[in-house]
Symmetry: C2
């Protein structure tokens, strides 16, 4: 059995992130609450550095390297939020960063990652393995390879989102009935669960996943790792990991009350509500937890539920389409 | 000469608003900063209760009424952010609120104001005076009439935005070269100036206004109250006041470094940048200060400038159009 992170790892990450990550606000709308008949709190993690929670885990991992390891830099394979998180965290620490990206990655994602000072290594997604390329570079250069979720330091870093939610709720004298966070590989939701359950074991923690890509839900229900159908599609481009991680699944089995699958339509509606009632730009994957509540899949009547709006990196076309839904 | 608010009024307002108004975050984007060659801080006041700063002034005024006056309620004439601010502040205090609105006000604004528990009184904007109607209701009912800006309590409440900016900058060891806030009647920008100049007299404070509706700029330059051409138009629907208030103009003359007129096009660009780089939904009037910097009308090279994103109440069509600009 591998070593799992615990609440002390999350607390230590919170200390390391102080002054580096933004303590994002926990927002509410009396109008939405009246409509739902419950109290909904939105953790606006789309306002985090780089537009998603990924900065937290990346920074928590890289800051623990000694001076020599830092010189060798950090490396990650991702064309999305993890890439920007690693690039920005490395930049904060004055470290070089290399990101392995498919040759056909959207120009805006390449530009944003470069803007954080990272070097991009392209690969052909049809003939090459990004994991192999990243591991080879890491071996040759001594750079630290940062996995997107299945890593104690990454999970603990993402867990600071949950710690902030639980501490803010406590400061406001609110008892959280449930916390919901989006789930791809599971780093965010299991890290949050570590913190939230430590602060109040009664609070239920749920993952939110796209319908058809709900590998965590099916893995939890069957008690074993289940993978998604490779043909499954969703507008939640940040939530496409094929199966839960080893660490994240072990944590999920211990800590989660379940996982909720949400439709693309309910995600679009959630993006529009985030726009209208919370003035937030939320990307599809970042709206999954909100969709779980607004669609009624998780009952909020008479309850207090916090959802993580985990990211806001969405292109204009997709956002406009959500406002038309 | 009427009595003007001072920094003590703003500090007292901040104490009253503690736990009621949201301390909105001061956001930055390393990517935008690199592009501009300066440090830009955005005070995300669009995340405030009711989606604009107006809650602050309204609450600061209403909370100072004694129990008997509270029972008689609050009244305001507005179809916009001030209406929602007064309605929500009254609701917080368990007071009735009456809002005088034109009969042809957009349904969404009527619905939002009602959602905060206010009663709406409609008037015909072509044959009736909203001021007269509001004053008659106030006289008959004993309700407190809350002017939109020319009031010591309102200016002091809005000034807490500036106090939070100055305190946050101090906590981060940043010296503010300038602060910019949008200006309609001038309550927000002069309140902010009171706080910002008290914390650091070297910081320059500017108003931002729509081109053609830049009555504050022309009034400051001529040294006397100048009114806008009634035919002037702008997409900044929150910034249409015809001329500066008596109190706000007196404060502006003492405290402001000037006022910057911005075009509708630069406002649309600013809204798109707020979307893309800060993940914020900002309404046209709320983007005027950001537009003043991004358009180059206020030089930020090598400087640290904070701008207030004062509101986010924008309809979907207008927002989508800004993303197409």
């Amino acid at each position: 059995m591998p070593i799992l992170p615990d609440i002390d790892d999350v607390r230590a990450a919170a200390v390391r992130l102080r002054g580096e990550a933004i303590t994002t606000p926990l927002l509410s709308s009396p109008i939405v609450d009246a409509r739902l008949g419950g109290r909904l709190l939105i953790k606006a993690e789309c306002l985090q550095r780089t537009g998603s929670f990924k900065f937290r885990g990346a920074y928590n991992a890289l800051v623990q390297l000694d001076a020599q390891r830092r010189q060798a830099g950090g490396i990650a394979y991702s064309s999305g939020n993890h890439a920007q998180g690693v690039a920005a965290a490395a930049q904060c620490l004055g470290m070089p960063a290399t990101i392995v990206m498919p040759a056909d990655a959207p120009a805006i994602k390449v530009a944003n990652t470069r803007a954080y000072g990272a070097e991009i290594v392209f690969y052909d997604r049809y003939s090459e393995s990004r994991e192999d390329i990243a591991q080879r570079i890491a071996r040759d250069s001594g750079a630290e390879l940062l996995p997107p979720y299945d890593d104690v330091r990454i999970i603990a870093g993402q867990g600071t989102v949950g710690l902030e939610i639980a501490m803010e709720a406590q400061a406001r004298d609110l008892t959280l009935d449930a916390v919901v966070a989006s789930c791809s590989g599971g780093g965010l939701v299991t890290g949050c669960a570590l913190a939230v359950k430590a602060m109040n074991p009664q609070t239920l923690v749920y993952a939110a996943e796209p319908q058809g890509l709900d590998d965590m839900r099916r893995s939890l229900e069957s008690g074993t790792h289940v993978a998604n159908d490779p043909a499954a599609r969703s507008i939640c481009d940040a939530l496409l990991a094929p199966t839960p991680g080893v660490l994240t699944f072990a944590l999920a089995q211990r800590l989660l009350a379940g996982s909720i699958a949400v439709s693309d339509d309910s995600v679009r509606t959630a993006m529009a509500v985030a726009f209208e009632d919370y003035k937030l730009v939320v990307e599809p994957g970042g709206a999954a937890a909100l969709a779980a509540v607004l669609s009624g899949k998780l009952d909020i009547k008479g309850k207090t539920i916090a959802v993580v709006a985990s990211g806001g990196n969405v292109d204009r076309g997709l956002f406009k389409a959500a406002l038309e839904a």
